[in-house]
Symmetry: C2
Subunit: 258 residues, 2 copies
DNA sequence: CAAATTGGTTCAATATTTGAACCTCTATTT
DNA sequence: AAATAGAGGTTCAAATATTGAACCAATTTG
């Protein structure tokens, strides 16, 4: 692994649930030597990718990430464009709504809107989603280039629950259905008791750039509720695509004129 | 320079104005060899920090940055907390409002709200702000630890305009005033024809964690308008501090109970 | 269509990274 | 209050990854 890869992999150790870690802990989890780990952390700190708490000396993600993320978002306002759609879906359905962005053949969880009720599906921002066992993953795979699809179904597919579909052919069936219907469904494929629907957000070239999903407890998911959510999420995903596509186009026009 | 530093410095080449760059261009600007540059870019791409346009083959910032930024924001909702205050200030004053976050003794431009009028001050998200010649910089320096202040005034201070204050003693005077009054002012210290006021956003320990600024064309800035904006920006900065401090506190309480 | 420019690749020479051992400090434990 | 354990941090010879000149292929330009 390249040194850069090692450094970046340290950043991946932080999550919403564990936002701060000590040096020894980071070294243990990454598998790198303590000296190596520290040198990498110092490098990252110098560029504001990591901050060190002056009190506890623990490390956490730094403001430089926010800065670069904002530069990216300024040119490609994926999150900003999606937010109103997400909020509206969350309001309409009263369930957890979840936005992912595709990158390198993976889905990155970018935003989650939780309903205020007690019994709800909790999803953490910042996680990677498995492709074969989530509604988002299937919706995504329904609109990717052949090689991405093949490599996603090639490896051994982890069964997260007793209901996870791990047979590539069966997954292909789900994908076909999602393609025709415009949205995918997952009945407890990733977590027990959770039923999700998702739709792909398409880019200018017609391939998926992300997904939008609604996740609800099984007990609140009748067949008709699922269908309704599916249609809603598909419509919202289409709305995001259209607005994003239009906005990017307008931004480019504006730039060309300036 | 460490390899990690080199890799991260490549990310710093991207900006709102130049969001996409080719390999040769990146190599030229970074000063690294083309082979080295590409290897670094590939490493960064593997972790979604960089994306490559499939058409032009140009490189741009990747979705992994958004992902990590969201993890950070979930624990320390600096931007989210500040946004309502920023919007309200922008509405009240009709001028450009600007949020920075402190990191490593630098100020990173994190968010900007522009008024919709034609003659306005334009600020780009994602830039580093000089400390000696901006209202934000002075407001920040008024609330930092001694060593940070000293090193900020130590180096040669670049004169950006004919009115930039470059004499450390004179800057210290501005800092003292800002400390007493609660906000700083900058009369064309960074750009000709721009008058700015700024206030420090204080952390739990009483030191600045960022700044809030209002930047307006000189022609719309009477003495009384400047004072009014100063008071408004100081009040908003205090509001952010209090809410952030409270929210963090509540979040910690919530976590402890969970 | 030849010259120039761009993205990308190779491999011996070179510079950086590595990690066991060590130090220091703080907080328990005895 | 001395001893122990665990944390963060540091050092330098040995091990390894990085470097860059030269190269190729594919567009773009004059």
């Amino acid at each position: 692994m390249s040194t850069v890869g090692k450094a970046v992999s340290l950043l991946d150790l932080f999550s919403v649930d564990e936002p701060e870690l000590g040096l020894t802990e980071i070294a243990r989890r990454s598998g790198f030597d303590k000296a190596t780990t520290r040198r990498l952390l110092v490098s990252l700190t110098q560029h504001s990718f990591i901050e060190q708490d002056t009190g506890t000396r623990h490390y956490r993600l730094g403001a430089g990430l926010t800065r670069l993320a904002r530069i990216r978002e300024a040119r490609f306002p994926f999150l900003q464009t999606s937010l109103p759609f997400i909020r509206e879906l969350a309001r309409e359905t009263g369930e957890t709504v979840h936005l992912t962005e595709a990158s390198n053949g993976s889905l990155l969880s970018v935003h989650v809107e939780h309903p205020s009720r007690a019994n709800r599906v909790n999803v953490n921002v910042g996680e990677y989603l498995p492709l074969h066992s989530t509604a988002s993953g299937v919706a995504y795979l329904a609109h990717v280039r052949e090689p991405v699809l093949n490599s996603a179904l090639a490896g051994p597919l982890e069964p997260f629950t007793s209901r996870t579909i791990t047979d590539p052919a069966a997954i292909m069936d789900s994908i076909e259905i999602a393609r025709k219907r415009g949205y995918s469904m997952s009945d407890q494929g990733y977590e027990e008791g959770v039923f999700s629907v998702a739709a792909a957000i398409l880019g200018a070239d017609g391939y998926a750039i992300g997904t939008l999903a609604i996740a609800a407890p099984l007990v609140r998911t009748s067949r008709s509720a699922a269908t309704e959510r599916g249609k809603a999420v598909a419509a919202a995903a289409r709305g995001i695509s259209e607005q994003l596509f239009g906005e990017v186009f307008n931004a480019l026009k504006g730039r060309a004129l300036a």
